[in-house]
Amino acid sequence: MARIEPEVRIVDEIRAAGGDTIKKCYQCATCATVCPLSQDDLPFPRKQMLMGQWGLKERLLSDPSLWLCHQCGDCTVYCPRGAKPGDVLGALRNMAVRELSEFKFLWTFYNKPWGLPIIFVIALFFIVLSLSFFAGGVPGFFSWDLIPSLGVEEVHILFLKLSSTVLAVDAVFLPLAAFVVIMAAIGINRLWNGMCQTAGIPAAYRLGFGAVVSSYLVPAIKEILAHSRFLQCGANQWRATGHRMLLWSFIILAFVTAVVFIAADVFGFHTPWPLYNPIKILANIGAILLLYGVISVIVNRLRAAAEGKVTSAYQDWFLIYLILAVGVTGLLTELLRLAHNTFYPGMYALHLTTVFMLFLSVPYSKFAHLIYRTTAYVFDLYVKDVRAQMAQEVVEEGVGTPEEEGESETPEAAEASEEAQAS
């Protein structure tokens, strides 16, 4: 019999993180039944409420169910005790992001209101430093030529011909991107191992990175692009539209950024490109989608709050308004540039600052759901397969002779360990 050691400190932590209603739950499991995403084999969020009440932090934070929830609020509406399971899961996700991250002080800056100016100053510092370094300051605001020799129109590195602004941007964002990717990889790895351990997947069924990506990432991404799970929440359909628009706008903007990066930085087609350029048109469509998406997310969240379905925490609003800031500063930059306004470089610097904040937030803010929810989707598809295989094996064991049973198990185990080695 497993011995449960309730951790009162953890319970207090959950309550402080926004799950203040957790202790009201009396385990009737209404939530796990009304939830349209909850599964027969692994229903949630009733168990998560209990684990929270007992303070079982490790098990909770490596629970894929946390990320399979899209917080439609049905559980909160039907909860007979006002325990708000939807909000508690939101708080737990927030805690999970912290646990999974490296350099936790960055999480703190991103998730406490007092950290906002710090994050802003950090971002501004790097942007201004880089612009001063490579482009001689921000025209119209200040000129601070750190290295006069670099303050030239074009820099030649090998066959690359980079404008000073491009160099300034790359000098900040390439290392930032590398940092974010590494941090995300660390977080994903921790989450994945935790989930495998908690789910008790036998070693024979563990897959290597390559196998997981090739078999399960593509279907998971398909689900995400279609928002098929999100849309299963009946109560969520109106919310899903805004969110999906936002997702697609990010995809479009990521694509055009990649194209511009290759064309401008590698092949020397300097920006700004004319408005009739197809890539520019696509970028502007992306920008409009982003603004429309984020505004509808704001409106829908306010509506859900009015219906008592969702309580929004600082972390929720932080991400939403940061995305709004990215969109607004981006659009203003373009408009000011087209109007030949002198504030254009300043606005551009501000835009770069907000983009920096958003990029860096991927492993630390609520934005982390991008990576962790995807991971949970992948894990969910994987674990379903494993369970099906195990059930199949049980059936085979039941009818087969002991010799056959031994044989049938070996190749699979060998295959799995091969894959693990290959990765």
Partner: protein
């Protein structure tokens, strides 16, 4: 000068008990009832707790005490319109709705035979119909017919007046207003089954075979719509599998925040009804906690032995209907196994909770708490389910206590 009479509002088991207990202590009592007959909820049951007696048992004994005691004035179809004054000297205005049938009625039933118009039987929760002229129920007190004029068919009135040999039909009867002077008031206004249509995820009224526990009592009752045979509404077949949904509205902040006390026992009892009619019938009781207060724990053991009951610890939050068979698929998380159960059953019984009648239809001059239970004060007492959710036995004990408190108010002046 203080008045020395007691008013008991509500003629169910609690009100009758309070009235006879006070009258047997030689105090004058008015016993008023809104319905055309005394009997209340108990009259609707198949068996009642603690000993699973049929309602005739307790009611007949008390009716006899009523009839033989000259100190009790009974008014049926009476509602309280106004209360003024204070402890020791209340003035209560009553309105008595016209029955259209006078004291000459012998309940011979000739009128009913010729009447063609029908009305939905509220006593049977709409599971059956009665004629426009009807006996409220087989244990009616007074044993007298009542006429629902709205339900009369063309020519009915002439036919029933002709059929009545006792000149008992009086279609010109008017509502009456009555002023009572009493020293104390006992509220025995009882309860109503919680409105199951408010539980939108449980399909009541959308799915034919989702019924309430009180409807189950009527189906099992020998004087009920099916003559005591438990048949499911969609096709009048005998259900072989029945799911009981506990806490349907009770212990729920969105509905009734309190435990209704008796529903767990009611479902156990109704599982016995099933076993009585078909020993092979399977009951599935979905519960949060099985609450069998005090000595009723023994009843849980008995039900487990005598009926085939599957207990699933988890609240039902979704019910779907198979449109072909009209069977139901009941979903809950079995919190002991941690898996979700989708149980197919022939019929679902919602163990709906008790809501105090005063929460649904308030009466001027009586203070109730946020849930509609009567707040006690000097001169105003409450008993039975007007006070809190209770079983019959405890209701009667609170009724006796309320009678004593009312007498104390009068004696103290």
């Amino acid at each position: 000068m203080a008045y020395d009479k007691i008013l008991v509002v509500g003629g169910g088991i609690s009100g009758i008990t309070a009235a006879v207990e006070a009258a047997e202590m030689e105090y004058d009592v008015y016993l008023i009832e809104k319905e055309p007959s005394l009997g209340g909820r108990v009259a609707q049951l198949r068996y009642y707790f603690p000993k699973l007696c049929p309602p005739t048992c307790g009611l007949e004994m008390n009716y006899r005490r009523l009839k033989t005691n000259p100190r009790i004035d009974v008014y049926t179809m009476a509602t309280v319109k106004n209360i003024s004054g204070g402890p020791g000297n209340y003035k209560v205005t009553l309105e008595i709705a016209p029955r259209y049938v006078n004291e000459n009625c012998t309940a011979c039933g000739e009128c009913e035979k010729v009447c063609q118009g029908e009305r939905e039987s509220s006593f049977d929760f709409g599971l059956a119909k009665t004629k426009a002229i009807y006996l409220p129920h087989p244990m009616a007190f007074p044993l007298r017919y009542v006429l629902d004029k709205e339900a009369l068919a063309e020519g009915d009135l002439e036919r029933i007046m002709e059929a009545c040999k006792y000149n008992a039909i009086d279609p010109d009867m008017q509502p009456q207003t009555l002023e009572l002077e009493v020293g104390a008031i006992i509220w025995a206004t009882g309860w109503k089954p919680y409105d199951a249509t408010k539980l939108d995820n449980l399909g009541y009224s959308r799915f034919a075979n989702v019924i309430t526990n009180m409807e189950m009592e009527r189906l099992a009752s020998p004087n009920g719509p099916t003559g005591g045979k438990i048949l499911r509404p969609s096709d009048q077949t005998e259900p072989k599998t029945v799911a009981f949904v506990q806490c349907a509205g009770s212990r729920d902040e969105n509905h009734l925040p309190y435990c209704s006390y008796i529903c767990c026992l009611a479902s156990l009892k109704q599982s016995l009804y099933l076993a009585e009619q078909n020993p092979e019938a399977e009951a599935y009781i979905f519960y949060i906690d099985i609450r069998t207060p005090g000595r009723y724990e023994k009843f849980l053991k008995r039900a487990q032995e005598e009926a085939r009951i599957n207990f699933i610890k988890g609240k039902v939050a979704k019910i779907e209907e198979d449109p072909e068979t009209k069977d139901l698929i009941v979903t809950a998380e079995d919190t002991l196994s941690g898996k979700r159960v989708n149980q197919r059953v022939n019929m679902v019984v919602l163990a709906t909770g008790m809501q105090p009648s005063l929460a649904v239809e308030g009466v001027p001059g009586v203070a109730v708490d946020e849930n509609g239970f009567v707040k006690l004060s000097e001169g105003m007492y409450a008993c039975g389910c007007a006070r809190m959710p209770l079983d019959v036995m405890t209701s009667n004990e609170t009724a006796t206590a309320a009678a004593l408190k009312a007498i104390q108010t009068i004696v103290r002046g």
